[in-house]
Symmetry: C2
Subunit: 113 residues, 2 copies
């Protein structure tokens, strides 16, 4: 998960992923479209590949990279517990305040931990 996120956090790599969403591409094609130098693209592809986000298959002298969208399922799964939250109107601030007051009081009253 961590690895996937850091891989996607780099702008050029995110672009590569988006390119590969449409269809698999050879390294050279990515180079053309992103106006990056070939070694950089190869390096970024390496990172993406290590994170499981893409995979290559050799065809003649070139390597066709394609997206492994399954890897993104992990992100999807991570999001899951948050889905519940993101429409909630109220926040639990009241709880928190009550909590704070309690702790504060305890401190004042000086009780053993």
């Amino acid at each position: 998960m961590q690895e996937i996120l850091s891989a996607l956090a780099e702008p050029n790599r995110l672009q590569i992923v988006e390119l590969l969403r449409r269809k698999p591409l050879a390294v050279g094609e990515i180079v053309e479209r992103l106006r990056l130098r070939q070694p950089q693209v190869s390096k970024h592809l390496r990172v993406l590949s290590d994170a499981g986000l893409v995979e290559a298959r050799p065809v003649g002298q070139q390597r066709i990279y394609r997206l492994r969208a399954q890897a993104l399922k992990e992100v999807d799964a991570w999001l899951d517990p948050y889905r519940r939250t993101w429409d909630e109107r109220f926040d639990q601030l009241d709880d928190v305040l009550r909590d704070l007051k309690r702790k504060h009081k305890e401190k004042k009253d000086g009780h053993g931990k």
Copy 2:
């Protein structure tokens, strides 16, 4: 989006987000739980806040941070076009191969762009 991803890419920040999923917390509480130093936590919170992932509200001398799960909706939306893909059995490699052959032939035959 880019900003959100880079914010989440840092392990400690991801942990903070996960902490705040349960309930809002004051800076000091995050410090305790993550065993980080206070300035680091403040800095990470700054990044998360700039990315729209958290928001603070002052309560007395402390600042209660809470998650803005709506920000994660963006990630969810970004994933959307990929959902279609990630269960597909076959890949479009055949298309790609056909494409390559065509281009190759064109090159050989030497036609104007």
